[in-house]
C-alpha cells in the first residue's frame, strides 16, 4: 500500500495517480485480482468491505512479519516484568513480607504474565498500524465516487501510476476487460 504517500510533487494537481475499477461481487474481484497479478503489476491493490477469502493468493500477498513483532513485544514484556519485580522488591526497595523470599518467582508470575500479554498486544496493534502506515488520513481515492461504497458493498481494483508497467491506455483496457461496473482515473 503505497497510495496516499506523497509520491508525486503537488505541482501537478490534475495528474493521474491511479486507475480504479469497481466491481460488485466477490467472484468478480477474485477473478480481476488474478488477471492483474498475472499481467505483472506490482503497485496495485484491491479494496473490499471485509477481508475476502482467497484474495491473498489471488493477489500474491506474502505473509506478514507481524507475528515477529508480537514475539518481540512478548519477550520485552516478559523480561520487563521480571526486571521490574526484581528491581522493585529485591534491588531498590527490599522488604520482608509474609515470609516470602524477596524474589519469589511463584508470586511474580502473575505480573510477568500480564506485562508479557500487554506488550505483545501492543506489538500486534501498533505493529499492524505501523506496517499498514495508518493513520493516514489524506488519500486521493476518497475523492472518487466509485470508491465511496468500498466500505459498504463494493470491491475495487486500484492500479497506481507509479507502477513500472503502468500505461494509462493499456491499463484502462486491462481493467475494462475485467467487466467492471466502471473504470475511473484518480487525480491527486
Amino acid at each position: 500500500m503505497v497510495l496516499g504517500m506523497p509520491t508525486k510533487k503537488p505541482d501537478a494537481p490534475s495528474k493521474v495517480v491511479a486507475l480504479i475499477a469497481e466491481f460488485d461481487s466477490v467472484d468478480a474481484i477474485l477473478a480481476a485480482a488474478e488477471k492483474v497479478r498475472d499481467a505483472g503489476y506490482t503497485k496495485w491493490d484491491t479494496h473490499s468491505p471485509f477481508p475476502v477469502h482467497g484474495i491473498d493468493d489471488a493477489m500474491g500477498i506474502k505473509p506478514t512479519i507481524l507475528p515477529w513483532l508480537v514475539l518481540g513485544g512478548g519477550i520485552t514484556g516478559l523480561l520487563g516484568g521480571l526486571g521490574l519485580a526484581w528491581y522493585a522488591n529485591v534491588f531498590e526497595y527490599p522488604f520482608l513480607t509474609s515470609g516470602k523470599p524477596e524474589f519469589s518467582l511463584p508470586a511474580n508470575i502473575p505480573v510477568i504474565f500480564e506485562t508479557t500479554v500487554l506488550l505483545s498486544a501492543f506489538g500486534a496493534v501498533f505493529g499492524m498500524l505501523g506496517l499498514n502506515r495508518l493513520p493516514w488520513h489524506y488519500n486521493p481515492l476518497f475523492k472518487k465516487k466509485s470508491f465511496s461504497r468500498v466500505t459498504n458493498d463494493r470491491f475495487v481494483v486500484v492500479i497506481e501510476a507509479a507502477d513500472p508497467i503502468f500505461d494509462t491506455q493499456r491499463t484502462t483496457d486491462l481493467l475494462n476487460s475485467l467487466s467492471p461496473i466502471c473504470v475511473e482515473e484518480v487525480e491527486d
Binding site: 520482608l96 509474609s98 515470609g99 516470602k100 519469589s104 511463584p106
Partner: protein, 509 residues
C-alpha cells in the same frame, strides 16, 4: 498392518476413503507385551520396597492409560456437543480409544486386590480396613464451632485411640514414614518448612526433633496422617472405594460403548437421528464424566496421601487427560495415514493442525491448573497442605530440596516452557515429523507428571527404573491390544456422518 480393505460407501457424497484396521498383526505383540509385567513384579520383589514398588509403578501406568481413555471419551462428547465438523474424520479413533475402558476395568483389578488385601502398603487408609479402626473423627465432630487456634496438626496431638491399626500398617509403611514414625512419636507438629521465613544457615541441615532423630521434610507424621485418615473413614474405606470404582467404570463403559455403538451403526444406516441422539446425550455424558473423573482422581491419586486435599485436583488430572488424548490422536492418526489405512485427504494436514492447536492449548491449560494449585498452596503456606509439595521437593526453601526437586523444576520447563515455545509456530504444527515429536515429548512428560504425583508417596527419594518401564510396557500392551481389537471391528473413519463433506473440506484460516 499394511493390509488395507477399502470399504466404499454407497453414498458417495458422505463416504470417506478410509480403510479398515486389520488388527491381528499388531494384537499379538501387544498381548505379548503384557508379559513384561512378570519381570516387573520379579524385579520389584527383589528390590527394597518389594511389591509395594510394583504397585506404585502399576498405579502410575494405570493412571496414564486411563487418562487416554478418559480423554478420548471427553473428546467424543465435546465434538458432539459443539456439533463440530472438522473432527468427524478423527472421531472414530477417539471412540475406539474410549472403548479401551473395559480393558482398563480389568487392569484395575490388581489395585482393587491391593486395597482389599494389602492392608495399606499403598493406600494408607486401606490399613484400617483389616482392623476396623474406630472413626476418630467423631470426637472432633462437636468441636466444629470451637475456636482454638488454627494449627490443626498440633490440635490433634493428643494420643488418638486408633493406634492399634498403626502398628499393623507400619509393617508395610514406606521407609521414610516408618523411620519417621519410629523416630518421633512425639513430634506431631512439623510445620511444613516452606513457611520458614528466611533461609538461614541453621536450616541447611534437616530439622532435628526433640529426641534427636532426623525429620524428613515432606513426610507427614504417621500419627497425623492416621488422625485425618480416620476422620475420612466414611469416604476412604475399602468397600466404598471399590463400590465407587464399580460405578465409575459402569458410567465410563456405558458412555464409551453407547457413543461407539451409535457411531458404528451410522456407518451402515447413515441415519441422521443417530447424530442427534449423540448430540443430546453428550451434555449429560459430560456431567457424569465431570463427577466421576473428579472423584476417581481423588480416589486413585489424591488418597495416596490421605491427609492431603486440593479442590482443583480433579481438574489437574483432567488437564492431563486432554493433553494425552490429543498427543495420542496425533500419533495414531499419523501412523494410520503413513500406513495408508486412512487416506491422507481424509485426515489431512488441516485436521492434524487443529489437533496440534488443541495440544498447544492444553499445554497452557495444564500449566494454568498446575500453577494455580502450586502457587495457592505455596503462598498460603499452611502445613496441612504444603507437606505434599515438600515431599516432591517443590519448595522455595533450599533446605527442603530433595531428589524430587530436580523433577519438579524440570517439569516447569519440560511440561510447559519447552513445548509451549516448540508448538507455538504454525509451521511446526503443520509438519508431521515435528508435530509427532512434540506429541511424543508431551506423552513422556505426562508420564513424568503422573510419576511425580504418585511415586513420592512411596519414597521422598527419587525412584525410577526398570520396574516402571516394564510396567508401562505391560499395561501398554494390554491397552494397545484392546484398542486394536475394537478398532479392527469397523471402519476406522465414520462412513456416513452427515457432516462428513464439511469435515473433508475443512481448511484452517
Amino acid at each position: 498392518m499394511t493390509e488395507q480393505e477399502t470399504t466404499q460407501s454407497p453414498d458417495a457424497g458422505k463416504a470417506s476413503t478410509a480403510g479398515k484396521l486389520t488388527g491381528g498383526k499388531l494384537c499379538i505383540p501387544a498381548v505379548g507385551a503384557i508379559g513384561a509385567l512378570v519381570p516387573a513384579i520379579i524385579l520389584a520383589a527383589v528390590g527394597n520396597y518389594g511389591l509395594t514398588r510394583f504397585m506404585f509403578a502399576y498405579i502410575i501406568a494405570f493412571a496414564f492409560f486411563l487418562s487416554i481413555s478418559l480423554g478420548a471419551l471427553f473428546f467424543v462428547c465435546i465434538q458432539h456437543i459443539s456439533r463440530a465438523a472438522w473432527s468427524v474424520t478423527s472421531r472414530r479413533v477417539a471412540e475406539v480409544l474410549a472403548m479401551t475402558m473395559p480393558v482398563m476395568a480389568i487392569a484395575f483389578l490388581p489395585i482393587a486386590a491391593n486395597v482389599w488385601l494389602g492392608g495399606g502398603d499403598v493406600y494408607p487408609w486401606a490399613a484400617s480396613h483389616a482392623h476396623h479402626a474406630p472413626a476418630q473423627g467423631e470426637e472432633h465432630a462437636d468441636t466444629t464451632h470451637t475456636t482454638d487456634d488454627h494449627a490443626p496438626a498440633a490440635d490433634h496431638a493428643e494420643p488418638a485411640t486408633g493406634h492399634a491399626s498403626l502398628t499393623a500398617r507400619d509393617e508395610y509403611a514406606p521407609d521414610e514414614k516408618k523411620a519417621a514414625h519410629a523416630a518421633d512419636t512425639a513430634s506431631v507438629v512439623h510445620a511444613a518448612p516452606a513457611q520458614e521465613v528466611v533461609v538461614d544457615e541453621s536450616h541447611t541441615e534437616p530439622a532435628v526433633t526433640l529426641d534427636g532423630h532426623r525429620h524428613i521434610p515432606g513426610v507427614i507424621d504417621p500419627h497425623t496422617e492416621e488422625i485425618y485418615t480416620a476422620k475420612k473413614a466414611a469416604y476412604l474405606n475399602v468397600p466404598f472405594f471399590i463400590a465407587r470404582w464399580v460405578i465409575y467404570f459402569a458410567v465410563w463403559i456405558g458412555l464409551s460403548f453407547t457413543f461407539w455403538k451409535k457411531s458404528v451403526e451410522q456407518d451402515t444406516t447413515g441415519d441422521v437421528q443417530l447424530t442427534r441422539f449423540m448430540e443430546r446425550l453428550s451434555p449429560l455424558a459430560i456431567v457424569l464424566f465431570a463427577v466421576t473423573v473428579t472423584y476417581a482422581t481423588f480416589d486413585l491419586i489424591m488418597s495416596l496421601s490421605p491427609a492431603w486435599f486440593s479442590t482443583i485436583f480433579g481438574v489437574y488430572y483432567f488437564a492431563g487427560c486432554m493433553l494425552s488424548i490429543f498427543a495420542v490422536l496425533i500419533l495414531v492418526l499419523s501412523f494410520l495415514r503413513n500406513k495408508g489405512i486412512i487416506d491422507k485427504d481424509t485426515v489431512s494436514k488441516e485436521h492434524l493442525h487443529d489437533h496440534g492447536k488443541f495440544l498447544f492449548g492444553f499445554v497452557v491449560f495444564w500449566a494454568y491448573i498446575a500453577f494455580s494449585q502450586y502457587m495457592l498452596i505455596w503462598y498460603a503456606s499452611l502445613p496441612e497442605t504444603t507437606f505434599w509439595f515438600v515431599a516432591r521437593g517443590a519448595t522455595t526453601v533450599s533446605a527442603d530440596f530433595n531428589s524430587w526437586s530436580i523433577v519438579s523444576i524440570a517439569m516447569i520447563f519440560c511440561n510447559f516452557f519447552i513445548p509451549f515455545i516448540g508448538l507455538m509456530s504454525r509451521h511446526i504444527k503443520r509438519t508431521n515429523a515435528t508435530l509427532q515429536f512434540w506429541a511424543v515429548w508431551l506423552l513422556v512428560f505426562h508420564w513424568v507428571d503422573l510419576w511425580w504425583l504418585i511415586m513420592p508417596e512411596m519414597s521422598v527419594s527419587l525412584k525410577v527404573g526398570l520396574v516402571e518401564i516394564l510396567t508401562m510396557v505391560g499395561l501398554g500392551g494390554l491397552f494397545v491390544a484392546g484398542a486394536v481389537w475394537v478398532g479392527s471391528l469397523n471402519a476406522i473413519v465414520p462412513q456416513k456422518d452427515p457432516r462428513m463433506t464439511e469435515s473433508l473440506a475443512f481448511k484452517n484460516m
